[in-house]
Each structure stands twice: as C-alpha cells, then as structure tokens.
Symmetry: C3
Subunit: 416 residues, 3 copies
C-alpha cells in the first residue's frame, strides 16, 4: 500500500483535471474502474460542475533566473485553481499572493481558491524570509476552461443488491495521509473481497463537488445503500477514529463500534463538518454513512501542509486501518436475523451431535455458550451482532454457532 | 428590585385580605394588572374560598402596659387567620398559644392556622424566656368574615396565543425572600418584555388556594400554556435551582437546563411538594410548569422566620435570577422548527454570499458551523434548541444562522 | 429450615427415581403437594422422558473386602445414571471410570452421565492416590428401566388467577446448597402465604428435563404466569444475586431490585445458562422469570463437590433469602395502579381528616409525602412501585397511603 501511495504522491490533483485522471489510471491497474466524465456546467443538486483546471508549470523566478518557488519541486506551491499569470513584480506587489504558515516556518501550506478567480503561491515562511525585494518573474501556466469533472467507481457485486458504499476523496495534491493512504487502503480492501453477500461500491471522487455530483447522478440508487463509510486520513500513526452517521444508531455505527472494540480507537458523534459524510448525511439523503479516519479531519499539525508527506504515513497504520475495515466486513457479511425453529425450551443439542461437533476443540465452552445465546435470541428481533453484543462473545463464534445450528435444522435465516 | 421588596415588606399579607390588595396596588404602579375578587364560599375544584381575614392590631401586654409582643412591630407576631380574642390570662394560660423556635432563639417563626379556627402569637424564644407569670392582656383585633380572595394577572400579549405562565405566591407577610423577591423579579421581567412572539401571563395569587382558584376559573384556558414556571425564593444568596415539571421532559425543562448551564445551579426532579407547581402539575392538569428558586423550598435556616428579612435578599441575586429568566425567554422566543429547502447535499453557501455575510466577524467560524448544523438538522424533527444542544453551539449563534439562512431562502419556519 | 435440609441430605436424588419420591414425601409433610408421575418415553417439547434410574448399592472393594469407595457412605461416589456393573478389575482397568478433582484433593466431585450409557465412580484425589494396583471388585447395583419422571406442585390459591411461579430443581443428591436449601426456603415461603391476592405455584422438579416436562404439560397455562423465579443455592454465606429475566424489564425484575435494595446484593443480566430460567426464558415462552440465588451458579469452589455439605449452608443465610423473598411478595401483593378521582389540583386532605389520621404518628411527614405522591402519580399509568421508586419512599408507606386515600374515596384501584 505504501508503494501505491508513493506512486500517486507526485501527481498534481485538484477537483478536476489530468492529475485526477492519472491517479485513476494507476488505481485502474489494480481495480476494474468505471471512470465518469461530467461536463463543466452540469447542474448537480444545488451546485454546478466548475471549469476544469490544469497547470503545466508555475514559478517565481528571481533576477538570477533562480526559481525561488517552483511547482516542479512540489505541486503544493501553487494555489489550487489559480488563474494564469505571467508578470514581473516586486516582492511588495507579489506579497498578497503568497501564503505561508508563520507558526510552522519550515512547512508549505496547501491552499485552494476553487471559485474565487484568483491566483497565488504557497511557500515556507523561511523561504519567504529569505526573499529580496525583487523584481521577480511570476508565472502560472494554467488553464481554467470548459472540460470535465472526473470520478470513478469500482463495484464488487454480491449475492444481493444491498450495497456498502466506500467513498474516498481524490482532490488533494501531494498530501500522503489526506488522502492517498485512503485510496491505497480502499484499493486493498476491494482486492480482498471475493464473492461477497453484499455489493460493495467504491467511489473515488473529488471532495464536496464530487460527492454531490455522484449523489446527483445516483439519486434513484442511493436507497440501495445499507451501510457506508467515507474513508480518509487512513495512514497516520494515530489511533482509529470512527465518526457516527447522522442517524447515530445506523447499522454501520454498531458494526464499526464492534469492529474497533479490540483496538485503540475513538468514536465521535456526527457533525456536519469534515469529509463527504457531510453530503451523504445531508437531511434529504440521510444515508447510513459514517466516517473512518485515523487522526480525524484537521486534527494533526501536518494537516494540509507539506508535512503530510510519505514519511507521515506508515505501512503499519495503513495495514491496521485495512484490518479494522475487514473486521467490519466480516460482520456486515455474516450478520443477519435468524429464527429458532425449536423455540419452546432448549432443543436437545446432544442428540444432534452438537456437543460432539465441538468437543475436540479448545474453545468448546465458548462454542456451546454461543449456541445457547443464538438459540435464545433468535426470535426474529435480534441479529447475530445483537447476540455478540449482549453475550460478549466474539462475532465469529456467534456466526459459527448460527451456521452449526442452521445445518442441524434448528435455525432459519430471515430475509436476505 | 430591592426597593420594591423593601416597600412591600411591612404589609401584612395572608391568603386573603387588605394586605394582599395593598401589595397588588403597589405592583400595579409598575404593571397593568387585572385584579380579581372571588367571593368567600365559591367552590374552586375540591376547595372552597375561605372567609377573608384582616387584622388591625394584636398584642400581649403586661401589667405595666408594655406590649411584650406587638403586631405593630412585626406582622409575624400574630398567627395567620387567628380568630379575635380579648382576654386577660396568666402566662400558663397563654402558653399553648405561643410559638417559638427553641433552636433559633432569636428568631420569630411564621405560623398560620388557615382552617383551624384558633389563634396564637409567634415570638422569639428569648422573649418568651423573659416573660413573667402575668397576668397579661391579650388582644387580637381581627375579623374573619365573608369577603373575597384577591389575585391579579398581568398579560403581555404576543404574536401567538401560546402562553408562558409565570406564577408567584403573594400570601406571605414580612418574609423578603419568600416571596417578595419573586414578585420584584417577575415585575422586572414583565417590564422588559416587548412585543414578544409568545404571550406571557403573570399570575400573582396566594399559595395553594390562589392557584387552585385560578385553575378553577381558567380550566378552558390552560391548554394554551405551553411553558410555565412558579417563581419563588428569588433573592437569597444561594445558587439557582430548577425543579423539573412533572413530565420531566417538557420544553420548559430543556429550556431551563439550557438557560442555567453557564451559571452555578442545581436541577432536581419534580416532587409534589413545594410551591404551586403542586397544583399546576396535579395529574388532571399536568401542565408543563417547572419551578425556579434560588435555595429551594424550606432549604435555608431563615425559611419561614423573621430571619428572612430585607438583608437576607441581595440585589445581585435578584438580578442573577432575572438574567437567567431572560436567557430562558430568549430561547422560548427564538426557538422553532425549520425546514431545509435545499436538503439534498449542502447548498452552495458561497454563491449566496453566506460566507461573506459573516466574513468580517471574529466569530466567523462559529457562524459557519452554526449554518451547517442548522441546515443539517432542519428536517422538521429538530428545533433550534435541539441544534444548540447537539452542536454545543450557543443558542444565539444557532438562531442567527437560522435567520441568515431563512433570509437567503434556504430555510422555512414550521408552524408558529 | 436447616433441619429440613439435614433430613433431605442423605437421599440419593437424580432426575428420576425413588430418591426424588422420598424427597417429595418429606416436603409433603409440610405442604399439600400434587405429585406427578410422567412415564418414560413421553415426548416433552424437543425431549423424551428418559428411563428411571435407581441404585441400591455401589462400591469398589479391595482384596481384603474393604470398600475403598462406598455408595453407602455418600451417594456422590456413584456417577448419576451409571449402568449396572459387576466385575473384577485392576486399578489400571478401573481408572477410566474414576473421577477426582486434582485441584481439590480432599473433595469428591458430583458427576452424572444421563444419556451416555456408561458408569463410573467419584472419589477424592487422596483416596485415589492411596489405592494399590488391585484387583478390585467393582459393583454398581443399579437399574435403568422404564418408569417415571416425578415432579410436584404446591399451589396457594389467591383471589386472582394471575400466578407467581417459584421453581426449584430437585435432582441433585447430597448437595446441601444446590439445591436442598432452596427446597427448604421455598417450603417456608409457601407456609407463610395466607390468602394472597395472587396465586403462587411452587414447582419441585428435576433440572432441565423436569422444567421441560412441566412446560410441555402446562403450555396452555403459562400465560397466567405474571412473575416467576427459579430459586437455587439459597443457603451459602455469600450475598444474594438476582439474575434478570430474558426480558430484562419484566415486573419481577423491578420487584426484585426493590426487594434487595437494602441488603448486600448483586443484579446480573440474563444469560441462557444456569438453572431452569433457561427453559422458562426460551424464546417461545419468554416468561417473566428471573433467578434468585446467593452465590450464583458455579460461583463457589464447593460447587458440585462433597464440600457443598450441611456446614456449607447457614440458617442465617436461608433466613435472609426467605426475608428477601418475603419483601418481594409484599410488593407483588400490594402493587397496583390507582386512579386519582380528584385529579384537578390537590384534594383538600384536611377536610377529610387525612392529616389527622396520621397526626399522632412519628412517621407523619413520610405518610403525608406518600399521600401527595400517590395522588400525583395515580393517573392510571403508574403503579405503586413506580411511586415508591420515583419518590424514594418505602413501598409500605406508599401502599398504606393508597389504602387511606382509597378509604377516603379519593382513589380507585384499576384492574385486579
């Protein structure tokens, strides 16, 4: 996963443009992607698809011909959606277009101006402090023109049409944790899914406008989404954070609480701020979509700076995020409501070899307790996750007990 | 407010009589009052309006002609509703009619005998200990005769007929905290209300029988009461105490919890004991009426003694009570349910100048968060107070955000 | 109670057989019992009544004619439901049939093999360690043949047909706490009930198969059970433990929490493991049946060993269990929903002598508060136990207040 992050890192992404296409091309080497191109000017919910932005070069050059700020060194140096500029100006004239972080003098900030029609450069405070009066040659060789917004989907079809949505934003340039790590983890998760029960839909789209575009084009289809996650900041060294859906008691909220319970983690309530859960959880949609990150949105000093680089994300952290997601998938796949077909008194398990079937295993006692719990709570009102929660038993033990009891004809699955 | 308390302090109030009328006359100098006179013998719910009691003079005089106990010095000296007496008797004969506080030897207790047909005097233990064997001339020049029970209402009409009830008991003689401070705070609150949305009804009536009389005469009208408070003990130096309505989850219960959250305070559950919330919250009415006091009912040593004097109440405490009430009024006035008219995804605020509109303010970030929260929760099921509670934002910021969004055509108020 | 335990202690009980009959004969000296005999092979829910087992003698005798293991010394020495055996064998041959407790070398374990068709002996580890190579004469003079499963009921008829079920398992041989103490406590409780409002049904039946048999034969009748308890381990020196019904919020769960609140106790959630609450709370029945023990199921080192002897149970503990049950009975008997017939405002209690009626008592204040609480909450939605819980007053004070108010015509009982 870290290699994939490293490969994607240099590309200049924004909410539109060739950097996004190049990113999706690379993901497409791992996953079968449907790439969608939506023309500039398309009405999407309350918004309009903006012009497409591309930048070939950008720099501030001093009188000696030295590029003191250079897009080729880092795409963070140019403010996203900067209009073209080619001028000579003094530092005083240039100064209003320069963005630094006075409190973090060695870092370059990440800035955008999507709908502002302006331009600018980002640089470290230390670089700025070293600049003379000028004059400087100032060039941004960008185009802001009719074009397309690009997003992609990857679908792993399941035995049912009930869907799990995993959504990652693709619009940030050279920031590793936000959000290349999530792209890498989502790609790994998608690759691991085989013939699942549920259908898994991965959406790779720019933040805000991308999610809004996807929602606008899939209004009829969102009712299929039974569970969803926005996935972001998946690689830093902090513990996992799950932010609940707007509903607060959706299935995904319980599943994620379960999936995280044996790892260091934090669970927070929904707020209409952060990543694209803002859109999925807008009141008109109110989808059961939570958000999984490690350190949450804007919660680390390197956030939206050049400090969010390849060293900032660790293979171990990405792996931990993936495994937590996999625990959630196991529950999503295995969960269900069952009906005890012999609900009056306990059925005689011994006669059916259901003690014997587990007799040789070291977890016999757990398996037996799981069977008793599943039988007791399988009244159509409790799911296997309910059984795991109430009994304190691992979900896997509960699911195995349900399987054994179903095989023995004592249990019947309800619904899909 | 303290000046008003001081002016009311000397009057001899009881559940009926001229002291109540004089009290209402003084309040009437500040507020437009409707004074109601209900004749003795009127059936009011399970009760009957009693005879009217007035006392002109009362004393115990020793052989030297010295008034050792004198109504003119303090009206607390005569037991409320004492029948007339004029007799000469020894201390031994008088003793069963004398009430003291052995544990608080310097204080005169407050005692009444509304429906008992007896008489008595209250005095300090120290005075009692200094009395000789007598004989004493014992006079209570009172009348207990057909007359009226007197109460008053002040109504501040709002744009809707939904009512807020503020009820204060008027039946205590020279006790400053219980309940002159509440009368003064209620008067100040009423004076401050200008063209409110809700209608505010202030009821000044004797305890128990007065509230029962008001309820009996307004049975048809009580359904208009959306929120209510009994207000008492509003001036002592203790922190504020809110006692929930019988329902426990009425609007007023949430509003008061919000209004008090930034002050030292206590919130207690309802109990059918205390002030007239007993009557308003009787199960047949079960009105959404809580009770606001500082130190609660019977919770301070000076309670129902001559220690509850003008020094016992402080201007600062009365002012604090008033401000807490005003915070509650702000929420009552500003609260409401709104509908997000653009509920699918977030509406584009920038295009509507809704970032700009707040851009120059230091609380920009809060204002922006408030807009996102209001948009997200305005689904018809959440009130602005819900938004404030869930977001942790100040109610005022939430209400201002709603206003801005309504002006921008993004929000519509539901109902009144 | 301890004397009864001592008398029952030597009998060799199992899930069937003459030991159970002898036990019920002795209980029958105290209570009027209906004894039921259910033939071997009867289908009961998912189970079949097994063959009846009786044992006359059993021993392991060495070459000197010494009985090194002897059923006559303790019936724990023979594994329950052992098939007959008469053989000579070496220790090595005998060894697979011998059960000990290596960690508790002085204690004899209790073992059964109900449906296994095997045989065995239980002995202390120390005894085993002292045995030579043999050969030994090994005899179990048992019969396993068509017969009956025996259980008994004792019913105390009440004024209503609503039932309280008290169920005790009878199938354990010489184990005092598990479950002779419960038999003794249940017998004492039954003896103390006189003309109750509810009907009390005591079931004395073998564990699992007995409860299943009773349920199978009473399927039509179980809907009458309003409250129930399995009673076990009623005599050890640990504090009381109440395990909630499967429902978790049944009336019995609230009543037991109330009954135990002034004693050291633990309350645990339901689990489908333990005593016959497993059967009563199976999802098809889901009866409001909790479980009362002192130290719970399998929670003490002496559990299912010869250490659970007559010294292990104390008269004080049995008495404490009985008194806790009696507190629960008082609530069950006295609880009910009432309707305030004068619900608008408080009724005038003084005029009805309801202050006077309690005036001479030291608990006047409590009695008066109880009346106010009962009046306030008697809206048909609250029971007297609700009133006690919400007011913090003792149930008895609340029930007496309800009685006084009903006598005064202010209250009417709802339902039965």
């Amino acid at each position: 996963m870290h290699a994939l992050v490293a490969r994607l890192y240099p590309l200049c992404r924004s909410i539109t443009g060739d950097g996004v296409r190049a990113t999706l091309d690379i993901l497409g080497e791992h996953l079968d992607l449907d790439v969608h191109e939506v023309p500039t000017g398309t009405q999407v919910l309350d918004w309009t698809v903006p012009k497409e932005w591309n930048v070939r070069d950008a720099y501030v050059m001093d009188a000696d011909g030295t590029r003191v700020v250079d897009f080729r060194r880092s795409n963070l140096h140019v403010v996203g959606y900067s209009v073209p500029v080619s001028a000579t100006m003094t530092l005083a004239e240039l100064r209003p277009h320069l963005h630094t972080l006075p409190d973090q003098p060695d870092l370059v900030p990440y800035r955008t101006a999507y709908y502002a029609g302006t331009w600018g450069f980002c640089l470290s405070r230390r670089t700025l402090d070293g600049l003379g009066e000028g004059p400087y040659t100032v060039v941004i060789d960008s185009t802001l023109a009719d074009g397309h917004l690009t997003y992609a989907e990857h679908v792993v079809r399941g035995r049912t049409t009930d869907e799990v949505l995993i959504s990652c934003h693709t619009c940030h340039p050279s920031l590793a944790n936000d959000n290349l790590a999530a792209l890498a983890v989502a790609t790994a998760l998608a690759s691991r899914l085989e013939r699942p029960r549920l259908t898994y839909r991965f959406v790779f789209a720019p933040g805000t406008i991308g999610a809004i575009t996807w929602l606008a084009r899939n209004r009829e289809r969102v009712s299929r989404i039974r569970h969803g996650l926005t996935l972001a900041c998946a690689g830093d060294r902090g513990p996992l954070t799950y932010k609940r859906s707007r509903r607060g008691d959706a299935g995904i909220d319980r599943v994620m609480a379960y999936a995280l319970r044996d790892r260091p983690h934090t669970i927070t309530d929904f707020s209409p701020y952060g990543y694209d859960e803002r859109q999925y959880c807008s009141p008109g949609f109110d989808l059961p979509v939570g958000s999984l990150t490690r350190t949450p949105y804007a919660g680390y000093p390197e956030y939206h700076t050049s400090g969010d680089d390849l060293d900032f994300v660790s293979p171990e952290s990405m792996s931990d995020t993936l495994e937590a997601l996999w625990s959630a998938v196991e529950v999503l796949e295995g969960d269900g409501r069952y009906l005890n077909l012999s609900p009056y008194g306990e059925p005689q398990l011994g006669r059916r070899g259901l003690y014997g079937s587990v007799g040789g295993r070291s977890d016999t006692k757990q398996a037996q307790m799981a069977m008793l719990w599943v039988l007791n709570l399988s009244d159509g009102a409790h799911s296997l996750l309910d059984v795991a929660d109430r009994s304190g038993l691992p979900f896997r033990a509960v699911a195995e007990a349900a399987q054994a009891l179903e095989t023995a004809g004592l249990l019947k699955r309800e619904g899909a």
